[in-house]
Symmetry: C2
Subunit: 492 residues, 2 copies
């Protein structure tokens, strides 16, 4: 298996596009802007889903399912949200095809089957969900309402890239309703923290927690909390958002509750989501010029065993030993695969598992059988060592933990080396191109300045970090006063 | 909690509609024909998903994800399939909304954002998937290709009913490709058997396995294998189908492979699916006039514990005992809930859990504490007994198994009492109305007779049972010769 993978240093973007396809994660479909998530990619997504779902349930949320379609009148009820998504909506206008009289064997839209009201394919589900919550919430006893949905959504993007920006993508969207502002804010912050925990401890991706500026906020939100990650090319990637919606949707859909004193009040809302975009973040955080590098937590195959043999007898002897090893590894919950295909050479297999990012590769040949050893190769740092078979199961278990941690540490070090304080716009522009990463700079707090910096540099304010230190300064662009630094970066 | 549930004997259909809503399974949404699956209903669906997913993986299938939209030209490539679904397609024609100049704050479809080619919201995914398989299959080494997808699909139904017939529903669809006809047929039969196993052993719903007649076959299939269940009102419900597609889709999408001799051949296909319709089958197989009856395998709460107390001290003493019991039950993997709400009386709680079909209810009061006992109530047969707390955990575990089995036995007995052999059309018509159920009758094998019987009685041929005995006879309608009996019934 020849990889023919473009090097990251040559063309990072090309490297990414090639890797996603060659490693069997996803590919473009025959439908403009929509991707096919291939089995290997989907298996990784399933691992993300399982862990997130566990975390959501542990924090008291239940899953439910709401319709794919949103009638136009319902969609436009919360004006800011509608305005924010109007330009990227797929719209269903008809409900029937008929035979095309001018084209034998072809179909055409039946003009007699026009919908009375157009249906929007959900770009996000606040409208449909809040229109439902109206009937579910009467009293403070019905609150908080803590619901999550796993679903597909559609946003008509003109320039698409696998996982990062696709017309259809998969995600989860949490939608909660609360009796007080404080509780709703607490929930938004809690879910941002769940996302940060997941990104860092499960995906080995370090993130900065912060809030978005007004212009980067979710349409219809009062505050958008976010986690921001840094890719190897120095560009940032928004990895998850959690919105405090205030009473905006409650007012738009007239969702009220009777408080303990019997008085009617509008409820307070949040929504929060992560998507298949995380697959892109995963690839761009850890992988290298040889292919994918998967943190053990996310690897569909954590350990692959490749036999090295010259005769059938050797393969048989190796298989007996390997089968014992596999039983031992599986007992520890380790996902192991024995690649005993006789149609491919070991070198081909090594290349394939390197490309697919399998964290640990074990090679075993006649010499190993004789010596009671295995050759263990790590995908993350490409090192190899020969290890005795005594206690090998525990050794592998520990090694997987070591790899998980070391991937995080490596990404964390890279990220920390790429948060640069800058104090002038010239310095910012120069380092933005030469070094990349996050830039902590003073900003005057106006959307106007933010917009101008974006026009001139393509960099945006990724977030106002939650842990930022109050510090009087002057805006690097306008020279006006500022109370603290925000993080700028070019972003995906 | 007053149930006010219509009795089944009064109006079965009304009973069903009310129960689905009152038991918090689902409700109609503000979008025509689309339902909201509520958290309690969705939790049951999640249990079905988890078990089916395990069974699919155990039989060698992987999950993947394909686009929601199918371009019209792709959709119409397999003509029979296209024709079969053309009349119920939701069609996306535009990709943008804009402000309505005549209506401040309202949006309208932007006429300048018309798609060059209309997109069909998938009613089923053969077209999009086979257009993808073309690139995935080159050689016999790429076969078999065994893929499943969990997804939403849309079929524009005019008359909808929660779970049974909705414009949008959730399902899984398996799509496999094989080198030979025999292998593809084997796969179709295997998956029908997986569905039957799931229905019977997990959902406690007995089914008849069979094949569909030509007129009831999936559009584009050569053979449709199915499992048919019987509801309490004597109507049948198709619970799952598995299609042998022959080379129809391979030819429509030009999917060929090089066989071992290097010769190009079209591949052979199957597809198979079950949907949220199974939720309807679940309700209508087991539930009663008091509400849902859930088989323990599918119950989100398997055991509920209700404290009976007059003072806070009593509740405290009970709680101490109950917490120990819960630890013990959870160790055995039993989903248990302690309903210690002080806002509701025991009677209210009893009613609620009866309505929601919780298989086992435990009541515990001061007398029980004194005597070392619990009062155990079964939801399936509404019996109660007082049981010593010694060994209670194992007792409950066994009881859950007993309930699972006894629900199956009850449904099996009902179903077997409702397969009636009939030999004349008059007898058939009379018993169809007075008794209901399946009718094993001779049929001449023509679509014409089948259609006439349907017109006159609303009954259809549910299937030609796989285990039917060859038996020369004469068609109950036309008097023409027949080689064996088929099963007729009115159906959902």
């Amino acid at each position: 298996m020849s990889k023919n993978l473009t090097k990251r240093s040559e063309d990072y973007s090309k490297w990414y596009n090639e890797l996603v396809v060659k490693a069997d994660l996803a590919e473009n479909s025959g439908v403009r802007g929509c991707m096919v998530i291939k089995p290997y990619g989907y298996a990784i997504w399933e691992k993300m889903q399982a862990e997130l779902d566990r975390m959501f349930k542990e924090t008291g949320h239940s899953n439910a399912y709401f319709p794919l379609f949103v009638p136009k009148s319902m969609f436009e009820a919360e004006e800011k949200n509608a305005e924010g998504f109007a330009k990227e909506c797929a719209i269903v206008t008809h409900y029937r095809l008929k035979n095309d009289p001018d084209n034998k064997g072809k179909l055409m839209v039946d003009p007699n089957a026009k919908l009375e009201e157009e249906l929007i394919v959900r770009p996000t589900s606040e409208a449909i969900i809040w229109s439902t919550y109206k009937n579910w919430i009467q009293s403070y006893r019905d609150l908080p309402l803590l619901i999550n949905q796993w679903a597909n959504v559609v946003r008509w993007e003109m320039r698409t890239r696998l996982f990062l920006r696709t017309a259809e993508f998969l995600w989860q969207e949490g939608h909660t309703a609360h009796a007080t502002q404080a509780e709703a804010i607490e929930e938004s912050v809690k879910m941002m923290n769940v996302y940060a925990d997941f990104a860092e401890n499960f995906m080995a991706i370090p993130v900065v927690k912060g809030v978005k500026t007004e212009s980067e906020r979710f349409a219809g939100a009062i505050e958008t909390y976010c986690i921001e990650a840094l890719m190897q090319d120095g560009k940032a990637l928004q990895a998850g958002t959690s919105h405090f919606l205030g009473q905006n949707f409650a007012k738009a859909f007239d969702v009220k509750f009777a408080n303990a004193e019997g008085k009617q009040e509008h409820v307070w809302g949040t929504s929060w989501g992560v998507s298949t975009r995380l697959m892109g973040a995963l690839v761009m955080t850890h992988s290298d010029d040889n292919g994918l590098v998967l943190p053990p937590n996310l690897a569909p195959i954590q350990v692959v065993i490749v036999p090295i043999y010259k005769s059938e007898e050797q393969l048989e002897a190796i298989s007996i030993e390997v089968n014992k090893l596999m039983v031992g590894l599986r007992k520890l919950g380790i996902a192991v695969k024995f690649d005993n295909r006789t149609t491919h050479k070991p070198g081909f297999k090594f290349n394939e598992y390197e490309l697919k990012g399998v964290p640990v590769r074990i090679a075993v040949g006649p010499n190993d059988l004789e010596n009671g050893t295995y050759e263990i190769a790590r995908r993350d740092n490409l090192t190899k060592e020969v290890v005795s078979k005594d206690g090998i199961e525990t050794y592998i278990q520990n090694l997987l933990e070591t790899i998980q941690k070391s991937l995080y540490d490596r990404a964390f070090e890279y990220r920390n080396n790429h948060i640069t304080e800058v104090n002038s716009f010239d310095e910012f522009k120069q380092l933005l191109d030469s070094k990349g990463g996050f830039f902590a700079a003073h900003w005057d707090g106006t959307a106007e300045t933010e917009e101008k910096i974006k026009e001139l540099t393509k960099a945006t304010i990724r977030c106002i970090p939650l842990d930022r230190v109050e510090e009087a300064g002057t805006c690097m662009f306008s020279g006006k006063p500022s109370v603290g630094r925000v993080l700028f970066a070019k972003a995906y």
